[in-house]
């Protein structure tokens, strides 16, 4: 049974709403059900994409099964919008749950998977999970590991100057922190007098493709690297929705208010291996955040087998309808190859509109 007499998070406001707890932290039941639904939708969508990659409806899959708990909590707490008043997102290729939580229609991810001309993120150019969304400050996700960390200080610098409470959020994997760009982000975010509101997130799944983190990384916690720069941080169980929600809330509050960097290291799972290149087989020895949350919500009396299967059916129906639709949509044309190379320029006499082949 959900506990009925407690407070929403640590804000000290007594609310008489049912809630779900993890240790000393809690979340309202309503929110938990929303999160759960989003997690199911992400999982179902990713699993369908894996199927597409194997059936030839796509060529390659990479994505976030195992990161749904943390990434959904992230997406829901983003200050969503365009321009420096809102959060900038420099994301990794495992962030589909974040985008779904922000409200991205499932079909847009599938369009990218199916490489249609209608793919709003890349017009069928990029791998799945490589989102780009101007309206929501979601900067183009690139496969090049870690480069997002050197761009993050730039958006944050504009935000600091702009005022308001918009922050810059940058995410990446654990192995990628070995690239110098991770250190650059810390340095550029802590210049004395110019500290920047950058929330540096590492989703630590313990792997870089086939290489265990334990064989390459001498740090106990990755966030310990922030200490020398005075960057606060915390390690959170990214498979725990309640803990992830609150860690993110604290981190965002801090960045929004203090206009300084903060680090979160979220321990997450990788449930289908690295990508379709490594087979995208279900892994059974890692914790499944969805199972965990399902169990918790069931325990709390918020879910029962009927609701549960209803939510899953709904998500499955949504994804099937989307796939069906996507497969009817147009493909890019040969003439698209050069499109969107250049923005129109009043001072360029060769390419005033766009690239058109050699001068």
């Amino acid at each position: 049974m959900p506990d009925k007499t407690s407070t929403f998070g640590s804000e000290g406001v007594a609310l008489l709403v049912p809630e779900v707890r993890s240790g000393r932290e809690a979340l309202p039941a309503e929110l938990c059900l929303d999160i759960y639904r989003l997690m199911v939708r992400s999982r179902v969508m990713e699993e369908r994409m894996i199927k597409m990659s194997k059936s030839g409806q796509g060529y390659f899959w990479i994505g976030g099964p195992g990161e749904e708990a943390f990434n959904t909590c992230l997406g829901l707490q983003v200050k969503k919008g365009h321009g420096p008043a809102y959060d900038y997102l420099h994301l990794h290729y495992r962030n589909s749950a974040t985008l779904l939580a922000m409200g991205m229609p499932m079909i847009d991810a599938l369009r990218q998977m199916a490489m249609t001309a209608t793919d709003p993120h890349s017009m069928g150019r990029n791998f799945p999970g490589h989102f780009a969304c101007r309206a929501w400050n979601v900067l183009p996700i690139s496969s090049v590991v870690e480069v997002q960390y050197v761009m993050a200080p730039g958006t944050a610098l504009v935000q600091k100057r702009y005022g308001g409470d918009g922050i810059t959020i940058v995410t990446g994997g654990d192995a990628g922190t070995a690239e110098g760009d991770f250190a650059s982000c810390m340095i550029w975010s802590t210049r004395p007098g110019n500290e920047l509101p950058v929330l540096m997130i590492v989703t630590n799944n313990g792997w870089g493709i086939s290489t265990p983190a334990s064989t390459q990384h001498g740090e106990k916690h990755i966030i310990d690297r922030g200490k020398a720069f005075g960057i606060r941080g915390e390690v959170v169980d990214g498979n725990d929705v309640v803990a992830s929600w609150h860690a993110l809330r604290r981190a965002m509050d801090y960045c929004r208010r203090e206009r300084r960097p903060y680090m979160i290291e979220a321990k997450v799972s990788r449930l289908y291996g690295h990508s379709s290149s490594s087979g995208a087989q279900r892994v059974w020895d890692e914790v499944d955040p969805l199972d965990l949350f399902e169990h918790k919500l069931t325990e709390a009396g918020l879910l029962d087998p009927i609701v549960l299967s209803h939510i899953r059916e709904e998500a499955l129906a949504e994804v099937e309808a989307a796939v069906e639709q996507v497969l009817r949509e147009p493909m890019p044309q040969p003439s698209d190859v050069e499109k969107y190379t250049y923005a129109p320029s009043p001072v360029d006499v060769v390419y005033p509109e766009d690239y058109t082949g050699l001068p």
């Binding site: 709003p120 150019r125 110098g180 650059s184 250049y342 320029s345």
Partner: protein, 352 residues
């Protein structure tokens, strides 16, 4: 007349005041130094960055994403080689995101030899840069063009790399920048930071005016019917000297094209001239294997092979791992006047 580096500074000032430039930054770009070549002295948005070129390019990208208009400096192009992946990414953001994001950044960096820079301050960058799809690359050879190209670079909503010829930074032009004071002394007094303590110094900017050199437009700096000389940057003035000398010596006049834009280049101008003359000399100082001039040559072969009267030539730098400090090395590694003159003489006088 302003020097090339003063022209850049005036352009950046104009950019700050009128074109929305928000950040001019890089190593030693802000006060007190204002750039190791003084290009950024006295600018109100100039600031010093950490010693980290990857951070410089990445931060410029971030500023642009968030609506700022950054001009980032790489102190010497020689130190930009650890950022090629980022430059590639900057060049593909619009393409990769199918138009979701533009990337209006300007990167400026001194390029080429001529300042006794030894191994790591003598490299050229244009051949590398020309391979960065999605970028525009410009390289002025005189102060007025530097001013006009810099303004265009700022206004263009795409990533633009401005290569500044190291050897010509202190050279004065023949034409005034619109709004430039009458005397060099006055200009200097107004915008050059004093030697010594600068803490209370403030520039008194002249009221410079807009002047755009379009991207993709070459300048025909000498005209003639006998040959086409294509160059830019440090070797451009040498080509002019060679052409003038040979006009005197042989009576034959050449077109000398100052390319100004490396990419996109002014194919119309090249093509028209080559068609007219049938004789071609391309000159630059970058290393000669997979050299940008070889691309121009290939285009000429593609479209004008049957109009060529004699073998077209490329003069470039030697394919060696560096340029040595002792001037014996530099003189014998990158093209100097005699070499250019000899090549041009051969092009002009070879029988068709």
């Amino acid at each position: 007349m302003a020097t090339l580096v003063q022209a850049v500074r005036l352009a950046l000032h104009y950019g700050e005041e009128h074109l929305g430039v928000t950040d001019i930054f890089g190593e030693d770009v802000g006060p007190p130094l204002g750039g190791v070549f003084t290009a950024t002295q006295g600018l109100k948005t100039a600031w010093n960055s950490p010693l980290d070129e990857r951070g410089i390019i990445g931060t410029a990208m971030g500023i642009a994403y968030a609506g700022g208009r950054p001009v980032a400096e790489i102190q010497f192009c020689d130190y930009g080689f650890n950022t090629i992946d980022l430059l590639k990414v900057a060049g593909n953001q619009r393409w990769a995101s199918a138009g979701n994001f533009d990337m209006p950044i300007v990167v400026m960096t001194p390029s080429g030899s001529g300042i006794r820079g030894s191994l790591y301050h003598s490299h050229s960058f244009e051949s590398w840069a020309s391979r960065l799809a999605g970028w525009k690359i410009v390289m002025p050879s005189n102060p007025l063009d530097a001013y006009g190209l810099m303004l265009s670079a700022i206004v263009d909503p795409n990533p633009v790399l401005v290569l500044l010829p190291k050897a010509l930074l202190r050279v004065r032009g023949e034409q005034k920048i619109p709004g430039e004071p009458d005397s060099e002394e006055e200009l200097k007094a107004r915008i050059d930071a004093p030697i010594g303590d600068r803490s209370n110094w403030k520039p008194r900017w002249p009221d410079v005016q807009p002047y755009y050199v379009p991207i993709g437009a070459a300048a025909l700096v000498r005209e003639g019917d006998e040959a086409t000389v294509i160059s830019y940057g440090r070797t451009l003035p040498l080509c002019i000297q060679a052409a003038d000398h040979l006009a005197h010596e042989t009576g034959k006049r050449c077109d000398v094209l100052d390319l100004r834009s490396i990419f996109p280049y002014d194919w119309k101008a090249i093509s028209a001239s080559v068609r007219k003359t049938g004789r071609v000399l391309i000159v630059n100082e970058d290393t000669e294997v997979t050299n940008y001039g070889e691309h121009l040559l290939r285009r000429i072969i593609d479209e004008h092979f049957y109009e060529l009267l004699v073998r077209p030539r490329l003069i470039a730098g030697k394919h060696v791992p560096g340029i040595g400090l002792n001037q014996v090395y530099e003189q014998n590694t990158v093209p100097q006047l005699p070499l250019i003159q000899d090549a041009l003489r051969a092009v002009l006088t070879e029988e068709a």
